[in-house]
Amino acid sequence: MSTTVANRRISQTKRILGRNPELAAVITVAAVTALFFILAPGTMSRLGVWGDIFRQTAVIGIVAILVSMLMIAGDFDMTVGANYAFSAMIFVWVINAGFDPILAALAALAFGLMVGLINGVLVTYTGIHSFIITLGGLFALRGSVLLVSGGTYVTLNREPASLAIFNTELGAQFSIAVVWMFVVLALIGYLTHRHPFGNHLYAIGNDRDTARGRGIRVTRTRIIGFMMTAAAASFAGILVAARFGSVQASLGEGMELVAIASAVLGGCALFGGEGSPLAGFLGALTFGVFQVGLTAIGAETAWFRFFVGVILIVAVIINRQIRGFPIQAN
């Protein structure tokens, strides 16, 4: 009888977290924010600092939101960083060739969709884990970036008015990229939680055979997931190119890992079936708060990477402890 009571009690915690899997991520963000409020109260209470945090979060956030979505289906995309750099370059080249930024953005997005299609087709038709396939893609694509850019950088030679769609200051350090991130979050959140597509992603991430048995087109759904993720990386590249007007060949190196770290910090499982787009955003926001917060207290920037690692491990351990394993009432 006592075990039943104990099970019930754990089950209540699990019920709450089961329905609100992002709760742990919200607590993490709040804790990190509180820490910096204590360490640097004057800085953290300024609106401009928050503008800066959200600006830092926007670009990686867009990628992390989609990487989270992809991880729900149990897939990884290691090509996002290289794809981000290549797409940013395409955006710059097309504008420099005299075309409108909107056309340039479409060209960059088309490239991204193509990368996603190749990723998706290779993963689904070979049956090899997406981590391996896209890891290969990462090297191939990064090599291509170095080859086509000559290993240096490309710079916008003109700034047409419609560039403002991708780069406008909104005051207090907030930029239009933040708005775009929330648009992406809302759209992907809708698709994941309020559209059959999302239900299919969760089913695939739980068990592909079950999903197939229920009539879900598993291959098609996974390929679409890869294409959406790659398009998000391209879009992030467009935003960053529009903001800085210049793209380094090394842009986005390591982004794929930060995106996965954000997703995991937000509560995505490495083997699929768990997580949400909001998780990716909250994970990215946690890192954003940390990055700006460390600068605010005057710490060396190297500490950022150190703490990214530490927070990640601690958060995952706590998440595991709270959520535990499924309880079988015996």
Binding site: S11, K14, R15, G18, R19, Y190, H193, R194, H195, P196, G198, N199, H200, Y202, A203, G205, N206, D207, D209, T210, A211, G213, R214, G215, I216, A269, G273, E274, P326, I327, Q328, A329, N330
Partner: protein, 267 residues
């Protein structure tokens, strides 16, 4: 078709895999509204029979009649369309999503031009299903599947099959890996399901579980019929044990004996 006809009739089914005779002239029959329990030892041919029945395998020989008409399902989807659903013990649910979402995986109700999920409808219908299968106490279709016990999960699969209008449910060892208490919950769900007039094939190697819910029992051994009994002809499960012991040569009695504990728990 008259209601006197059996719902399903399988005659003289043969299936060979190379030199292995998995089915060697097997007959089965399921009447309207009954639980027919197919009992046999592991490897007796139970699973092959079901796979041939729903079109997963094509039989080498033999005829299948569904509602009095001869059928030849080319794949499990065709059987599904006809109203025959197989509920597997170990697959069929996505653990991390809610009962309501599981109920509708692959056939989600939508509204509006964007095809938005009709979450309200999903929850209402799921609550009704929980009620129907006797899990009203759960009373919460937004609960993730992994928070349900093993027996409750089996019941949800049965409820889902019912929701999608199955006329014949095929349950492949539904109590395997469940505790006695959990097994009881599933058996209760099966009895409630029978009250609705749904027919079932209950596949098991456990005679005592079979006896608990079955209306009729067909024994299978080495891909052949090994006897058929109606429940009212029997004094108790022991008679089935004796029959199966006889056909199986007695060698497997110990294994069946292991299940006696479960039987005592369920009755």
């Amino acid at each position: 078709m008259s209601t006197q006809d059996p719902l399903l009739e399988v005659k003289n089914l043969h299936k060979h895999f190379g030199s292995v005779r998995a089915l060697d002239g097997m007959d089965i029959r399921v009447n309207h509204g009954e639980i027919m329990s197919l009992v046999g030892d592991n490897g007796a041919g139970k699973s092959t029979l079901i796979k041939c029945l729903v079109g997963y395998h094509q039989p080498d020989e033999g005829d299948i009649y569904w509602r009095g008409e001869q059928v030849d399902f080319q794949n499990p989807d065709e059987a599904l369309d006809a109203g025959i659903r197989v509920v597997y013990q170990d697959i069929g649910l996505a653990d991390t999503i809610s009962v309501a979402r599981n109920l509708f995986i692959g056939s989600e109700p939508t509204r509006g031009p964007a095809g938005t999920l009709d979450v309200e409808k999903m929850h209402e219908e799921a609550a009704d299903v929980l009620d129907e299968i006797g899990l009203k106490s759960l009373n919460d279709p937004s609960l993730p599947i992994e928070n349900l016990s093993g027996g409750e999960q089996q019941s949800v699969k049965i409820g889902r099959a019912l929701y999608f209008d199955a006329d014949l449910l095929i349950l492949d060892e539904p109590l395997r890996a469940l505790s006695v208490k959990e097994g009881e919950k599933v058996l209760r769900t099966l009895k409630k399901t029978r009250e609705k007039g749904v027919s079932m094939i209950y596949i098991t190697h456990n005679i005592f579980q079979a006896y608990e819910v079955g209306d009729r029992f067909q024994l299978i051994d080495n891909g052949e019929n090994a006897g058929e009994y109606a429940k009212d002809e029997l004094d108790g499960p022991q008679q089935l044990v004796e029959s199966l012991k006889y056909v199986a040569g007695g060698g497997d009695l110990d294994e069946f004996g292991d299940e006696t504990d479960v039987a005592e728990g369920t009755t």
